[in-house]
C-alpha cells in the first residue's frame, strides 16, 4: 500500500470576512489511486470542514468539480495525484475568468445566461406528436453532431479561453459548441434563429482560434472545431445573402 504525503496549496476566500483571497496549505496522506478531489474530501472530513467546493459524481460526468490545478483547468475528479511530480506541492484554485463566490466555488450566472441565449433545444419545422413516432436519423446523421452533444458544462473551456478573459461578452466555447450541435441535428430547423446570436459581435467572430478550449475539454467535444465550422457557415450565409440574393431561402 503506497501512500504519498502531498501538500496542497488551496485558494481560500470568504467574502464575508476577507477582502481578498489567500492560500492555505494542507498536508494530505494520498493513496496512489487518488484524484485531487479525494484529497479535498480528506481535508474537508479530517482537517478543515470550512473548505468549500462543488462536487458530486466523482466520475467526470456531472461537471461540478472544475478547478485550476497547478494553473491548468481540470476536473478535480479526473486529476490523478500520481500524474503530478513527486515532492512538489499541488496548487488548487477556482476556475479562472469567473468571479469567486467562496473558496473554490465560482459564480456561474454568466455561463448559465449564455447557455440559455443560444436556444439549445430542437426547433422543429413542424410540431411532431407521439403518434408520428420517432424521427428517422441514420448513424451518419447522428455522427454529424454527436461529438458536440457530449459537453458536460464543466466550463474548463471558458477558463482556458484567452478571448473570454478579454471580452466577457463572448458567448464562449461550450455554448457555441452546443449551438453547433443543434444546428447539425437532422431533427432541428432552428439555425436561422440561432444565427442572430451566433453571427452577432459576441458570437463566433470573437474567437481568435487559439484552440485552448479543445485542448482542455475532458470530453473531446472540440469547441474550437465547432466555432471554425460555424464561421465558414456564417460566411457562406453572408455571400448568399449579399451576392446571390435570389438564392436566399
Amino acid at each position: 500500500m503506497s501512500q504519498r504525503q502531498i501538500t496542497f496549496e488551496i485558494l481560500r476566500y470568504d467574502p464575508e470576512t476577507e477582502s481578498e483571497p489567500r492560500f492555505q496549505a494542507y498536508c494530505v496522506p494520498c493513496e496512489e489511486e487518488w484524484v485531487v478531489l479525494d484529497a479535498l474530501n480528506y481535508i474537508k472530513d479530517n482537517l478543515d470542514g470550512t473548505l468549500s467546493y462543488r462536487w458530486s459524481c466523482h466520475m467526470a460526468v456531472c461537471g461540478s468539480c472544475g478547478m485550476m490545478i497547478n494553473g491548468e483547468p481540470m476536473l478535480s475528479c479526473k486529476a490523478f495525484v500520481r500524474d503530478f511530480p513527486n515532492g512538489g506541492s499541488i496548487r488548487v484554485e477556482p476556475l479562472t475568468h469567473f468571479p469567486i463566490e467562496r473558496d473554490l466555488v465560482v459564480v456561474m450566472d454568466d455561463f448559465m445566461d449564455k447557455l440559455q441565449a443560444v436556444k439549445p433545444y430542437v426547433i422543429p419545422k413542424k410540431k411532431r406528436t407521439v403518434e408520428d413516432g420517432t424521427y428517422k436519423q441514420t448513424p451518419k446523421q447522428l455522427h454529424q453532431y454527436q461529438q458536440y452533444s457530449m459537453c458536460i458544462n464543466c466550463m474548463l473551456c471558458y477558463a482556458a479561453c484567452p478571448q473570454y478573459a478579454l471580452a466577457p461578452d463572448f458567448i464562449g466555447p461550450a455554448a457555441l459548441a452546443l449551438t453547433h450541435r443543434y444546428n447539425l441535428d437532422s431533427r432541428d430547423h432552428g439555425r436561422p434563429q440561432r444565427q442572430e446570436v451566433v453571427a452577432a459581435h459576441e458570437g463566433v467572430w470573437e474567437c481568435s482560434f487559439v484552440g485552448a478550449c479543445s485542448e482542455v475539454c475532458p470530453k473531446d467535444v472540440d469547441p474550437a472545431g465547432a466555432i471554425q465550422q460555424m464561421k465558414i457557415a456564417s460566411t457562406v450565409d453572408w455571400y448568399l445573402e449579399h451576392l446571390m440574393p435570389w438564392r436566399r431561402k
Binding site: E16, D45, C57, M59, C62, V122, P139, S149, Y182
Partner: protein, 586 residues
C-alpha cells in the same frame, strides 16, 4: 424573509423534476412553476445513468412481456396497476425524448436501436451509447430553457415543507449563495430529489444523493414505503464505486471468478451460455439482485479475487473486440482506463457489487400523489411501486419520465380543481419557525461530536448490518447503532460560520436526512421476516407470500424508531410465481 409565490413548486431538478416542469409548462403556460435544486440541474445524478431506458419498441416485443419481466423481476412486490400504466406510457415518453433531441443510438435504417438488459425476455432498452442518463438529463434541461413559466432557483437547499391544516402550502429553502432563508408558497409541491445511496459507504451514488426529499416527506407525516429494498448493482469499480453499466453484459460481457469460471451457472442461472452470444434472461443477463447475491456466495467460498479495495470478481469483455467496445461502451472504456488502469479491450476488469438504487421511497399512488394533500413525488425518491423488491435495469430512467409527467398532471389538476387557498398567516408562522430552527443549527457552538465520525459510523453500520444478506442479530445491531447516532447528532457543532456557500452547513442538513432515511431502511428490514428480491435474510430464507406480500410503511416517530405497518400489494393479473432465470427453460 423573501417570499416567492407560485402555483407549483418542484424540489429537485434532475430527470423527474425537469420532466415535471416541462409537462406543467406545456399543459398550461399560465401556471407559475418554481424549480428548486440544491445543485445546478445538469449536475443532478441522472447524468450518471449509463445503460438505457426501457420501453417496448420492436415488433417482437409486447406490453405483456415488459409487464411480466417487471413484475417477476420485482418478486411480485410491484403494484400491477401502476406497472400497467408505466409500460404503456414508456414508449411514448421515450419518443418525446427523441423529439426533444436525445441522441438515441440508431440502427442503419435510422430507427432507434434497442439493447438487452438483465431480466428481460426481449431486448427493449433504448440507449445513447453508454451515456443515456447524461443525454436524457441534458436534453430535458436544455428543452426546459424555452419555457418562460419555469422559474429556476439553482443551489437552494430545501429544509422544510410547509403544511397547514393537513395541506401542503409550499416549502422553505436556504439560498446557498447568501445563506438566506426563502419561503416558497404554493398549493402544490412535487418532490423529485432522487435516492439516498450515500447512507452506504460503497455506492455508485454521487455526493448529493442524501435522501433529502424522502426525509422531508417522512418528517411531514408521509410514510416511506418498502425502504428495506436496496439494490446492489453487480458491477462497480472497487476503489471508487463507479458504475460499469449493465450494458457491458447486454453487449456480451461475462462474469468470472478467480479461476476464470463463469460462476453464475452455479446459482440457478445456468447452463453456461456460449461466449459472445447474448442469451436473454439467464447467466449474465439475470437480474441484479441474483447476480449480487451470487457474488456474496462466491466470496464466502473464497472464489473471489482479493484486491486492496476489497474482494472482486472479473468482468470480461475482451471477446467483444475494440470496434464494438468503442461504439457501444466508450464511457466504460474511459472509466475503466482512468479509474482502474484497465484496458477492457485487452483484460478483464475487477468489479464488485455496489449500492446503486433504492426501490423504496415516499409512498405515492398511481397518480404520483402522496397521502398528504398537495404533495406529489416522482423518480427514485418516490415508491409507486413499479420496482417492487428489485428494479429491472433501465426501468428507472423511464420511470422518472413517466411519473415526472404524471406528477405534473396530478399537481396541475389539484391546483385547478381543489382551488386550494394558501393560508398565508399560518404558512408565515411555520416558515419563521423553520428559519429559527435552521439558525439555531447554524449557530450551535457547543458539541463534542464530529460530522465525519457520525457519518462514517452510519455508513459502516449500514454495510455490515443491512447489506446484501441480513439477519436478526446484524439488523438489531444496526438499528441500535442508528438510534444512538441519531441521539448524538445534536452534539455536532459547526465550525464554518460564513453565510456564503457554507457546505459544512449543508452537509449537516444532509446528514440529518440520511440518518432518518437509514433508520427507516434498517427498521423496515428487521421487520420483514422473509427473503424477497434484494432483501435477503439468512434467518428467513424463503419468500413468505402469506404474511409479507405487502408493502412496508415506515411512519416517522420523532426521536423514536419508526412505526412499521403494511399495505396490500395491488395484484391485477399476475399471481406470485417462481422467478426462473435458468437457461434450461423453453
Amino acid at each position: 424573509m423573501e417570499t416567492i409565490e407560485s402555483d407549483v413548486v418542484i424540489v429537485g431538478a434532475g430527470g423527474a423534476g425537469l420532466r415535471a416542469a416541462i409537462a406543467l409548462a406545456e399543459a398550461d403556460p399560465g401556471l407559475r412553476v418554481s424549480l428548486l435544486s440544491k445543485v445546478y440541474p445538469m449536475r443532478s445524478h441522472t447524468c450518471a445513468a449509463e445503460g438505457g431506458a426501457a420501453g417496448v419498441a420492436g415488433a417482437d416485443d409486447s406490453m405483456d412481456l415488459h409487464f411480466n419481466d417487471t413484475v417477476g423481476g420485482g418478486d411480485w412486490l410491484c403494484d400491477q396497476d401502476a406497472v400497467d400504466f408505466f409500460i404503456n406510457e414508456a414508449p411514448k415518453e421515450l419518443t418525446r425524448l427523441d423529439h426533444w433531441g436525445c441522441p438515441w443510438s440508431r440502427d442503419k435504417d435510422g430507427r432507434v436501436s434497442v439493447r438487452p438488459f438483465g431480466g428481460m425476455k426481449i431486448k427493449r432498452t433504448w440507449y445513447a451509447a453508454d451515456k443515456t442518463g447524461f443525454h436524457l438529463l441534458h436534453t430535458l434541461f436544455q428543452t426546459s430553457l424555452q419555457f418562460e413559466s419555469i422559474r429556476r432557483f439553482d443551489e437552494v437547499f430545501t429544509t422544510d415543507l410547509l403544511v397547514v391544516d393537513g395541506k401542503v402550502q409550499g416549502c422553505c429553502a436556504v439560498e446557498m449563495r447568501s445563506g438566506e432563508m426563502k419561503q416558497f408558497l404554493a398549493p402544490a409541491v412535487i418532490l423529485c430529489t432522487g435516492g439516498g445511496g450515500r447512507i452506504f459507504p460503497f455506492t455508485t451514488n454521487g455526493a448529493i444523493k442524501t435522501g433529502d426529499g424522502m426525509a422531508l416527506a417522512y418528517r411531514a407525516g408521509v410514510p416511506l414505503k418498502d425502504m428495506e429494498f436496496v439494490q446492489y448493482h453487480p458491477t462497480g469499480l472497487p476503489a471508487t464505486g463507479i458504475l460499469l453499466t449493465e450494458g457491458c453484459r447486454g453487449e456480451g460481457g461475462v462474469l468470472r471468478n478467480k479461476d476464470g469460471y463463469r460462476y453464475l451457472q452455479d446459482y440457478g442461472m445456468g447452463p453456461e451460455t456460449p461466449l459472445g452470444e447474448t442469451v436473454l434472461k439467464t447467466m449474465e443477463l439475470g437480474p441484479r439482485d441474483r447476480l449480487s447475491q451470487a457474488f456474496w456466495h462466491e466470496q464466502q467460498k473464497g472464489n473471489t479475487v482479493p484486491t486492496k479495495w476489497g474482494d472482486c470478481v472479473l468482468l470480461d469483455m475482451t471477446h467483444l473486440g475494440e470496434k464494438k467496445i468503442h461504439e457501444r461502451l466508450p464511457f466504460v472504456q474511459e472509466l475503466a482506463h482512468a479509474y482502474a488502469s484497465v484496458d477492457i479491450v485487452k483484460e478483464a476488469v475487477p468489479i464488485r457489487p455496489v449500492v446503486h438504487y433504492m426501490m423504496g421511497g415516499i409512498h405515492t399512488d398511481i397518480n404520483a400523489a402522496t397521502p398528504l394533500p398537495g404533495l406529489f413525488a416522482a423518480g427514485e425518491c418516490a415508491c409507486v411501486s413499479i420496482n417492487g423488491a428489485n428494479r429491472l435495469g433501465s426501468n428507472s430512467l423511464t420511470e422518472l419520465l413517466v411519473f415526472g409527467k404524471r406528477a405534473a398532471e396530478s399537481a396541475a389538476e389539484y391546483v385547478r380543481s381543489a382551488a386550494p387557498k394558501t393560508d398565508r398567516a399560518a404558512a408565515d408562522q411555520q416558515a419563521s419557525a423553520a428559519e429559527a430552527r435552521v439558525r439555531a443549527l447554524f449557530e450551535r457552538t457547543e458539541g463534542a461530536e464530529t460530522m465525519t465520525a457520525i457519518r462514517n459510523a452510519m455508513t459502516h453500520t449500514m454495510e455490515t448490518g443491512a447489506g446484501i444478506y441480513r439477519d436478526e442479530a446484524m439488523l438489531t445491531d444496526t438499528v441500535n447503532t442508528l438510534a444512538d447516532l441519531r441521539s448524538r447528532r445534536s452534539g455536532i457543532a459547526l465550525r464554518d460560520k460564513s453565510k456564503v456557500f457554507n457546505t459544512e452547513f449543508t452537509q449537516l442538513l444532509e446528514l440529518d436526512n440520511m440518518l432518518d432515511v437509514a433508520q427507516a431502511v434498517a427498521v423496515s428490514a428487521l421487520a420483514r421476516k422473509e427473503s424477497r428480491g434484494s432483501h435477503q435474510r439468512l434467518d428467513y430464507v424463503e419468500r413468505n407470500d402469506d404474511t409479507y406480500l405487502k408493502h412496508s410503511m415506515a411512519h416517522y416517530q420523532g426521536e423514536d424508531a419508526p412505526r412499521i405497518d403494511y399495505l396490500d400489494v395491488v395484484i391485477t393479473k399476475s399471481r406470485p410465481g417462481v422467478r426462473d432465470y435458468s437457461g434450461a427453460k423453453s
